[in-house]
Subunit: 417 residues, 2 copies
């Protein structure tokens, strides 16, 4: 939780943190500022002190909405600094940041730097700053272990409420998609038809998903996976817009929207087969569903997350599938890990890979996905089931948005002969 | 243009470039890959050679859609490297990148690093890599001058076609908003009413904007400015969702959507006053409109962009307003610069600030905004007019999307008594 940051800074031996960039679509900045049209900002937090946000004047009112202590970047004369730097803008911005840090008494020690930015210019500035301030050690932290990822790992109830709300939006969109698909007329070659009689494509369905997400107050900055056939068999194939929707093929529908402006995400997957199922796909589905339930039945507060990845690998291997347990980077079978934390990042701590540390645990307050799957691209099929759970401080495990687990969705206007 | 990259690398003394991160919402990567669900990728381009994209296996089919030479990152055993690195993931990824670079014969020279990423982890990796490869100089370039911004500065016709299409989407959404607003019933206190009789808010209008953008196949990752009264007087105030829409106040509507997944942007602003206008606001509007036309009449191919900023500052100062010409960081009057390039970045080269170099020119192929404005937050008013223009190779200046310049929008169901 955010209140852990000072302790995490102490453990990580950080005297201060600097967050750069915009308030939107930038998790570390959003964590403090809460979004809004604040761009190219600088946030400084010394250990055990409140953060201070430096804004550009045109965004002074937007910055004020953060409720933070705010100051204008325009108090530093960037043009004058640029002259001193012989026109080198990267050096000038480094000199400005040096002045800001000096105003906080930061002339030595360890400083972590964060923010979703264009790497090139920030890197160029930091190389100058490191030379300007040789007694400060500027630190970059791993996306697995940074103090932000560790603080964000456990959520306050107010954060979970926002994730839960995105879960309701998500499942409502999924419900509308199912209703739309199953209401379609079907051509003799088992292709679904639109209202105007033309074939329904992946692209058509994605347009509707985007429209409904927008209508319900969410956005999907990372897209949506709606993949059929072979594409369903490659976990991150997003689906080919011109592919036709047909009966009897696995459709993997993985949807991960967030609050507008880059707020909290939800993560959810269902796999469907319209009208009827290929028996081999049905068998895969049954195995995925069985192990999904097995994992859930065994979820224990504070258990290492990877212990469930081990369980799923062992289960699938016992059924004759490859997994990461005994195959390096398998291309079919169970090819990914079980789940991940969800918050301001769609993927965040705790992680469940077999190599993850024991500190990636189902600790009270974490919000995690469980998403076993089986993939056979050469057979044109793939299956994944995913929901998002909150490990509540009271020890209960809460499914954040309910939705049925039907694999075959019966078509209202079509019957198998 | 992309074909300029090799020359730009030569001028910038870069032996290779490395682009990191996702294909979406990451302009340098999108420039090569063209979007798609490709995450955590590495793209290497040696000077005078074609780029090579390294992907994660789960995204092999998405990567293949780029049409680039693609290779799997899984050929490098990250877990083994992590063991060698005593569990330090940043060092392990640096070792992997070292191997990739070595495979390209890159063991010395200058290498530029780019990509919209979480700075902290990329910085941590690069600090390791620089130590591992002391004979390579890793470079970060300014957001004003990087080889990418210079290549992207001039557009191919196919890129302009995509910007123009976003322009059509943008003006269609603006038309729908105008139609919706002017069709509203009005309360005796001049507040607009929704269909259900409750007051219409900024938040309601923004929901409609998002819905219509989505319906027309665009997204607005950076939000939309729809600001009334004082907020209209602060250029980057995005508008307070609970503010009511009322007659006779300036409304600044600045909309900058892009193709889904972080493709090409369009940038557009109109200022409206519903029903009637405050005479002082009308006078501001007339001045902004006059100088907008004056700039357009004087646009010359190849002229330095800042020469028009100078023209606008002089015009506004002659009318008694402050500008950057004689006031450092003014908070009212004309407080920003005239325009900027538009492409995969909403703000890119050429820039028009008075301090911009003469190389920021209206060269054939650039796509730029012209957006003069006047701001008086304490008087509760602000005005901006903005369109996006293409400096065509044939010397013509093309407005990429037409839209009327009316300031007062008459209300269909309300008349001034």
């Amino acid at each position: 939780m955010k209140s852990d940051l000072d302790t995490l800074m102490q453990v990580g031996k950080l005297d201060a943190i600097v967050v750069l960039g915009d308030a939107e679509h930038n998790p570390p900045m959003y964590y403090f500022v809460g979004g809004g049209h604040v761009t190219g900002a600088v946030l400084i937090k010394k250990r055990d002190q409140a953060p201070v946000l430096f804004y550009n004047d045109m965004e002074r009112d937007e910055a004020a909405k953060s409720g933070l202590d705010t100051r204008s970047l325009n108090q530093f004369d960037l043009e004058e600094l640029r002259k001193q730097a012989n026109g080198d803008m990267l050096l000038a911005t480094a000199m400005r940041l040096q002045k800001i840090l000096a105003d906080f008494g930061l002339t030595r020690g360890r400083v972590g730097v964060y923010g979703h930015t264009e790497f090139s210019s920030t890197f160029g500035m930091m190389l100058h700053l490191q030379k300007l301030m040789p007694e400060v050690e500027f630190i970059g932290e791993s996306g697995m272990d940074s103090i932000f990822l560790r603080a964000m790992e456990t959520k306050e109830e107010s954060e979970v409420a926002r994730i839960r709300k995105m879960g309701k939006v998500t499942t409502e969109v999924v419900r509308r998609v199912a209703e739309y698909l199953t209401s379609r007329e079907v051509r003799t070659d088992e292709v679904l038809l639109k209202e105007d009689g033309s074939p329904l494509t992946i692209g058509d369905v994605k347009s509707k998903i985007n429209l409904w997400l927008s209508e319900l107050g969410a956005e999907n900055p990372e897209g949506t996976i709606f993949a059929i056939g072979r594409d369903a068999g490659v976990p991150h194939s997003a689906g080919n817009p011109t592919d036709l929707i047909t009966l009897g093929k696995t459709i993997v529908f993985d949807i991960y929207p967030c609050e507008p402006g880059g707020g909290y995400f939800y993560d959810f997957t269902r796999t469907w087969s319209l009208g009827y199922a290929d028996p081999e796909a049905q068998a895969l589905y049954d195995q995925v569903h069985e192990v999904y339930n097995k994992v859930l039945d065994n979820f224990d507060l504070n258990a290492p997350f990877k212990q469930y990845q081990q369980m799923v690998c062992e289960y699938f291997e016992s059924k004759g599938h490859k997994s990461q347990l005994n195959t390096k980077a398998p291309l079919d079978g169970y090819v990914h890990s079980l789940g991940h934390g969800v918050g301001l990042n769609i993927h965040e701590r705790p992680f469940s890979g077999l190599q993850a540390g024991d500190d990636h645990r189902l600790a009270p307050g974490v919000v995690v996905t469980s998403e076993p799957g089986l993939y056979y691209p050469e057979k044109g099929m793939g299956v994944r089931i995913e929901d998002t759970y909150w490990m509540r401080p009271d020890g209960k495990i809460e499914l954040l948005a309910e939705y049925p687990y039907d694999f075959v969705l019966p078509m209202k206007k079509w019957k198998k002969k």
